[in-house]
């Protein structure tokens, strides 16, 4: 396949960026998108130019590091896939592909396609945990039976990989899907119930502080989420948030 790539180039956080055009030939359909980017970077280095900086690590769709906005979609055209699991067979010969970084005020650009998502870490630090010490001196794991359905639902919420596609795709740059997934996981399980009121308030406060926008229920996040995290999580978080606000002391 032959592909025309238009890739975002930006030297640093405060520099002006622009799209740069590169022609790719002999692209195999079995290549992952990132492997295609590797081939481009390899060529750029050999030509004495600077390669594009992009984030990536596990390349199996689970670490949440890769983050490219491809042809106007977070993680590109595939559904339920991250950029690293997107393969070139999803594109047509002769196609022009636009590659941009996540764009959100709460995710400042570091360089080219690399952004800073430490705002997500700070939201988790605000309360995305069960306050239990790691002594191991807890009760036996089987002493609290948890209905399979609840455990499975908590698991589905817990599969969020924190990549930020939901934010990148939202016209408001809202992080509600990310935050609600963690809130849901912990409020669905008895272990997390005890502090669920404080948790949701603290996490939402931090989310607002980081500059993420509000949710207007367009549902784009759910469509673009590589892990299929459901909008139901946002509904659950809204309910938790409301009742926590009403009952907070």
């Amino acid at each position: 396949m032959n592909i025309t790539l238009k890739v975002w180039r930006q030297k640093g956080p405060s520099s002006v960026g622009a799209m740069e055009t590169h022609q790719m030939t002999e692209v195999s359909g079995d290549m992952s998108f990132l492997e295609m980017m590797d081939v481009l970077n390899d060529r750029l280095v050999r030509e004495g130019k600077e390669p594009f900086a992009f984030d990536h690590d596990c390349r199996e769709g689970i670490c949440g590091t890769c983050s490219m906005f491809i042809n106007g979609e977070a993680h590109g055209p595939g559904r339920n896939v991250t950029t690293c699991q997107l393969h070139m067979r999803s594109f047509k010969d002769g196609e022009t592909i636009h590659v941009e970084p996540w764009r959100s005020a709460a995710f400042p650009i570091i360089k080219d396609l690399t952004v800073d998502r430490s705002s997500f870490d700070r939201i988790i630090q605000a309360g995305g945990y069960v306050s239990v010490n790691t002594s191991g001196a807890t009760q036996d794991a089987n002493s609290i039976p948890i209905p399979k359905h609840d455990a499975d639902e908590a698991f589905d919420s817990a599969t969020c990989i924190g990549c930020g596609a939901c934010v990148a795709t939202c016209k408001n740059s809202s992080a509600m899907l990310f935050v609600s997934a963690k809130v849901s996981q912990l409020s669905l399980l008895p272990q997390g119930k005890a502090e669920s009121n404080e948790r949701v308030l603290r996490m939402v406060d931090q989310m607002d502080l980081e500059g993420f926008g509000n949710c207007t229920n367009t549902g784009a996040c759910e469509v673009e989420c590589p892990k299929g995290i459901s909008l139901t999580n946002i509904a659950r978080m809204n309910r938790e948030f409301l009742s926590s606000n009403l009952t907070s002391k």
Binding site: G29, D30, S32, E35, D38, V39, D42, L44, V45, R46, G48, K49, E50, P51, A53, D57, C58, R59, E60, I62, C63, G64, T65, G78, V81, Q85, H87, R89, I110, K111, R117, S118, F120, D121, I124, Q125, Y129, V130, S131, V132, T134, S135, G136, A137, T138, Q139, D140, A141, N142, P145, K148, A151, D152, F155, A158, G162, Q185, L189, Q191, G192
Partner: protein, 665 residues
Amino acid sequence: MLDSKIPEGPLAEKWSKHKDNIRLVTPANKRHIDIIVVGTGLAGASAAASLAEMGYNVKSLCFQDSPRRAHSIAAQGGINASKNYQNDGDSVYRLFYDTVKGGDYRSREANVHRLAEVSGSIIDQCVAQGVPFAREYGGLLDNRSFGGVQVSRTFYAKGQTGQQLLLGAYSALSRQISKGKVEMLNRHEMMEVVKIDGKARGIIARNLITGEIERHSAHAVVLCTGGYGNAFYLSTNAMGSNASAVWRAHKKGSYFANPCFTQIHPTCIPVSGHYQSKLTLMSESLRNDGRIWVPKSKSDVEAIRNGSKKAIDLKEDERDYYLERRYPAFGNLVPRDVASRAAKERCDAGYGVNKTGQAVYLDFASAFERYGKTEVLTRGIENATQDQIVDLGREVVKSKYGNLFDMYKQITDDNPYETPMMIYPAVHYTMGGLWVDYNLMTTVPGLFAAGEANFSDHGANRLGASALMQGLADGYFVLPYTIGDYLADDIRTGKIPTDSTEFDEAEKQVKDEISALMNNNGDTPVDDFHRRLGLIMWNKCGMARNEKHLKEAIVEIQELRKEFYAKVRVPGSAYDFNPELEKATRLADFLELGEAMCLDALTRSESCGGHFRDESQTEDGEALRDDENFTFVSAWEYTGTPSEAKLHKEDLVYDNIELKQRSYK
């Protein structure tokens, strides 16, 4: 002399007695002690969180953009614990025994027993943290079985157990960050260990965003930086997984143990092209339900390769379920090293089923039918058709391994619900690592290693679902106690200043190295050299090794290293976000470590576990150990050239287990 500091007394009492006798640091004094933890995987995140909870001041580093990204996240299948919830006769002893046997009798008894002892607490801890393990309808925890054992002791969360456990440890770490007890440094890479008066007293790190070289001091340094599988370039490790921290510690005096013990995982997606950047694992748990086979006849192999036949066209009696044939007792659930070699044997004999001849089938057809029949009965469906049964069975398999099947389809464009998966072994894990004593301290005082970065628990082959167990055992339950014994001497030391000559020298060394790479007038990208190193390692220090190949590999790696320094091109600036520079410094270390692996493999002329020497095999091609001459840990001391390292031996003493030739027949 190597002193492993194994406590006296009966095996089952060593750990509890050791904990009772170990020196403690009072809470008030812990506030005056700084600890650096490098890496935030299962071992690193759990160690940092636990140490901070105890009151130490912790600084935690990861090269990724968030501690949640560490590659433990990609572990799929599960975590072992001897809870005996399934009432199938499991016990601490049995888990201990299986692990020592699975490791082909090259691990340390006392460490493995401790691991088995604390395994149950890990599950309790994770459940308390809100880790959503799989459950049965009654609400209790579910288990599955894994290779090399005959009980069901593996706890899991679909095919994403590592993710859920890591997020649990990350949440504990986040809680301590929010309390100010852990200072978290994302996008920081450790470049050097700083030693003062023979003790590890800090590190030099590079801020990967600004390129700045930083000094960090501490009373102890803990390396939880994972394994070195990326020496092979293609592996199931993440792209950033690297050995620089452990290798640099080695060059500063930490002995490196058993570097040749690498695990080749039998079930990975085969290589598809020269641009391949990494390999993807299909969890071992799939071998619970998948059957591995190749065609019996070469004409069928030919027909499959040229596309005139498909796997499903072959009848049962035309298939060679070679694991079931060779190992009737364990069948498809033999340990990883055995399964990998068996796949290589069939493919080398010409029975590989893809174009490159390097793939075998992993087939779920009989599982679909088996589960389907059970579903028909439980749901009370009468006169179910075969299609109905298979569909119901597919649903069950989907609920168990759905994400793995999706991943397979995404990568290969083949639907594994309809046609068998194609798999081939790939580098996955490294059992070798920094030599540590019972307290997890390396031969440099104050420098500790936990998780995959150390060598102690898995011998020559790791059993499935034991890496997660070891990472969390070390981080939550072992290191936080044992480190106190060392730090008890440091309660009056006070803050370690960073303006000493030792820090000056270490920083200068790092800066010189970086500037040499940046100013090299080469023309070849880093990955080019990494690929070539990978090929040497895979072909000559891979699934089967021999004297001739290993000697050749050492020379080839030395030549490649020279070429790397002469020809590598690192673009951009040292004081900027520069991923090419990160790759270059990491590869520089792999280029030395690879040589050390070959030397170790050459020296160990027996076969054991994942280390198979052509010269040492039984008549039917199984690994042949040489207990008389090789029941020891090879601990290598760096002397300047990797292949001239000095060998120290830690004799392995088995008081509680009788050494047997491993048999899974």
